[in-house]
């Protein structure tokens, strides 16, 4: 079970196609899985960016940022993951909104794809905006083009599309008077916040997929709690998507950094070829 059947990499983002037929049958757009590479691993949440009920596989895009994602990045086709739990989280709310804009950065470029597909099927006009530092860092583009009416680009160096970020593209659209009925954003916290600030003056309903630290993913522990509109919510069951105009970004940022000290030391020693220091015995 959970065999890695295909794998490729585009500049630090690893596409992992995993054998998980039951999940492939029950997953919906916006949901995620919690993954353990090996028996000793941390449980980390990853969005399911595509799935195929015929082959019984799910596709994850993993951005290598630390120890756990590095361990996944080092797995080879034919290896099996120790645990893949899902689907988790509430599915995206899909309806006929009219015009939907989806913004994606880093792993979000892959993660917006199923929402784009579902929104299109529900009758929406779908515009995706994706950002990266350089043009060669985009991935999954062909599929995204097929699922959207339009795909717009933003790059830090201007090598593809607009020079800038997703929010710059959105702001330009809104200034020009393009009507947007619903926006979804997936990516790092800073990007989610900036994009939400860009849609706020225009009162565009905005959903952001929050990525707080998780443990069980079933509502049992409260590790993932976030403040939205002054209320505490558990991102793994109440979310991950929330109203971007109501999120307490500072708190989320602080909670996400809770383990930075420990994680950094281990990641650095491990990624430089060093073995993870052994302490005690199992």
């Amino acid at each position: 079970m959970y065999e890695l059947v295909e794998k490729s990499e585009v500049f630090n983002v690893h596409e992992m196609v995993i054998d998980a037929p039951e999940i492939a049958h029950s997953i919906e757009a916006g949901q995620f899985v919690i993954v353990m590479g090996s028996e000793n691993s941390e449980r980390i949440p990853l969005t399911v960016s595509d799935w195929n009920t015929d082959t019984g596989t799910i596709t994850l895009y993993v951005l290598e940022t630390g120890m756990s994602t590095l361990e996944l990045a080092r797995m080879k086709v034919g290896d099996s993951l120790y645990a893949v739990t899902g689907p988790l989280g509430s599915p995206s709310e899909i309806r006929d909104y009219g015009t939907v804009v989806l913004g994606g950065g880093c792993y979000g470029i892959g993660a917006i794809y199923p929402i784009a597909k579902a929104c299109r099927e529900a009758g929406n006009k779908v515009i995706s905006i994706i950002e990266a530092r350089y043009s060669f860092m985009f991935y999954h583009e062909k599929e995204l083009h097929a699922a959207c009416d339009q795909v717009l680009y933003a790059t830090s160096d201007g090598s593809k599309g607009k020079k800038g970020k997703v929010e710059d593209v959105i702001t330009e659209m809104l200034e020009k008077g393009v009507k947007i009925d619903q926006a979804f954003f997936i990516g790092c916290t800073q990007m989610l916040e900036r994009c939400s600030e860009a849609t706020r003056p225009y009162n565009i309903p905005t959903k952001v997929a929050l990525n707080s630290i998780m443990l069980d993913g079933t509502g049992m522990c409260g590790a993932c709690r976030v403040s939205v509109g002054g209320e505490t919510k558990f991102a793994c069951v109440d979310g991950p998507e929330f109203d971007g105009h109501k999120v307490d970004w500072k708190e989320l940022d602080q909670r996400k950094s809770a383990y930075t000290e420990q994680e950094t030391v281990v990641y650095q020693s491990y990624s430089h070829g060093g073995e993870v220091p052994k302490v005690g015995s199992a």
């Binding site: 449980r43 645990a83 689907p87």
Partner: protein, 481 residues
């Protein structure tokens, strides 16, 4: 050699040898070492074999206590274990975690004057169960007739494991769906290693697998499959829900979301299930508090506090709203916590948690309470004393003040009735309002005990068998049933 009652009365209660407090507060190994066979026999000889058997009525599942103890006195340890197992399938667990002082030992005739003089039923139960396991003497029942009926059990806590064990022996095909990557429920992710070694739970689970129980891990029912799909798509004939109590609650006070504030569920899961005390060899990180405040007075609070000490805290303080005698924790746990130099701030309750600009907890403000009029349960109600606030520094807060029902399954099974708190409604046998769906354990009663969850599983297994047999004409009930 038959002892007289007087001779029996003269024997003093045998405590268990334990790791000394200043050694054990630095390791995760079990605290009591267990009886030697000689100690067990001597303790068993203290039992007076009372005709009325108050202990049996005191036990929620009515273990034939005097009968098994008499076998211990005759050194027939494996036989004694078998006698317990007719009523309690997890004696190695229950011997360690049952609140014996309010159950069997609480009504023991020998403990009438002083509860500390009661026959050590729990210790003896633990001894015989360990003896049976360590010497591989457990009987593996032969399952003759498979009846072709399939039962799905959701959750692998004590109630789910009991249902699975009972039904597989009756010839059913049993499949357990467990949300986590390991089985055992609270026994593995909640109760720490130093109180219940995980190898005991593992051996119970592998015994079930040997009998043919299938366990699917990483399977969150309500998301992966809905209860209806278990019938319609996967072809199960009955479904048992034993998913436990679930959601943690936080106090409704400012400062709950500072870094360093944990639910006990999170803290204990990181430590027990994810083994973060072995970070980074095990990859799940943990925040090691120096000054730790634990909110609550139950077993969960004691386990959190004692874990914090072992992880290296300099000072651990339990903050509890009521008095020492009102703490719901097992007596042994509170006693062990005190020995491990955990401080108790009784009759106090937090009103605010403080933090710094970086979002880390720095301390808390509490209010003092006094005992007032008794409430419905007869316990004196704690009432706040005006203007009696005090503050103290802490860099970690562990919240263990109880839980709520997890709605994952009930929300996706709208035709099954729940009560106003979201727990599943059942009859005395665990039948829910939905046909051929049964439930038991903490998801029905709210947070309770291992033995009551197990007892509920027993009853539900009987109901499932009865109901399914009514539907099919074949009867395969063996005589031990």
């Amino acid at each position: 050699m038959e002892l007289t009652a007087k001779e029996r009365m003269a024997i003093e209660r045998h405590g268990m040898a334990e790791q000394p407090p200043d050694l054990r507060n630095r390791n995760f190994e079990e605290v009591p070492y267990g009886y030697t066979p000689e100690e067990a026999v001597a303790e068993a000889q203290r039992c007076l074999s009372c005709k009325k058997m108050p202990c049996v009525s005191g036990c929620p599942v009515e273990v034939p206590i005097p009968e098994f103890i008499a076998l211990v006195a005759e050194k027939k340890f494996a036989e004694a274990a078998r006698v317990i197992k007719t009523k309690n399938v997890l004696p190695a667990v229950c011997g360690r975690v049952c609140p014996q002082e309010t159950q069997c030992e609480g009504v023991c005739v020998r403990g009438k004057k002083d509860i500390k003089e009661a026959v050590a039923v729990g210790n003896l139960e633990r001894f015989v169960a360990d003896y049976e396991r360590e010497n591989n003497l457990a009987e593996v029942p032969e399952i003759k007739n498979k009846n072709g009926l399939k039962v799905a059990v959701i959750g692998s806590g004590p109630s789910g494991l009991t249902v699975a064990g009972d039904l597989i022996k009756l010839g059913y095909e049993v499949t357990i769906y467990e949300a986590f990557h390991r089985g055992g429920g609270v026994l593995v992710y909640g109760i720490p290693e130093f109180r219940l070694p995980k190898k005991i739970v593992e051996s119970e689970i592998s015994a079930l697998e040997d009998l043919g129980v299938k366990i699917y891990y990483n399977s969150v029912i309500g998301r992966l499959h809905k209860v209806d799909d278990l019938f319609n798509v996967l072809g199960f004939n009955a479904v048992y829900i034993g998913v436990g109590a679930g959601l943690p609650i936080f106090l409704n006070i400012p400062g709950n979301n500072f870094n360093g504030v944990f639910s006990a569920n999170e803290y204990l899961t990181r430590s027990n299930l994810m083994k973060s005390y072995l970070f980074p060899q095990y990859r799940t990180p943990m925040i090691i508090g120096k000054k730790v405040a634990v909110l609550g007075g139950g077993n969960v609070a004691m386990d959190s506090a004692r874990t914090a000490i072992r992880l290296g805290a300099e000072k651990v303080t339990i903050v509890y709203r009521r008095a020492r005698e009102q703490m719901p924790a097992r007596a042994a746990e509170a006693h062990h916590a005190e020995e491990e130099k955990i401080e108790f701030r009784l009759l106090s309750s937090p009103v605010e948690i403080f933090g710094n600009d970086e979002g880390w907890v720095t301390g808390m403000k509490c209010q003092r309470y006094e005992l007032g009029e008794p409430d419905e349960s007869g316990r004196q109600r704690p009432v706040p004393i005006e203007d009696s606030f005090f503050e103290f520094d802490c860099d970690q807060v562990l919240v263990s003040i109880g839980g709520e029902a997890n709605p994952l399954i009930t929300k996706t099974t709208p035709d099954m009735k729940t009560n106003k708190w979201g727990y599943i409604e059942t009859d005395d046998w665990g039948r829910t309002s939905k046909k051929l769906v049964y439930a038991g354990g903490d998801i029905v009663t709210g947070a309770a005990t291992v033995i009551s969850a197990m007892g509920a599983g027993r009853m539900a297994a009987k109901a499932i068998h009865e109901d399914l047999m009514k539907e099919s004409d074949e009867t395969v009930t063996p005589d031990w049933w």
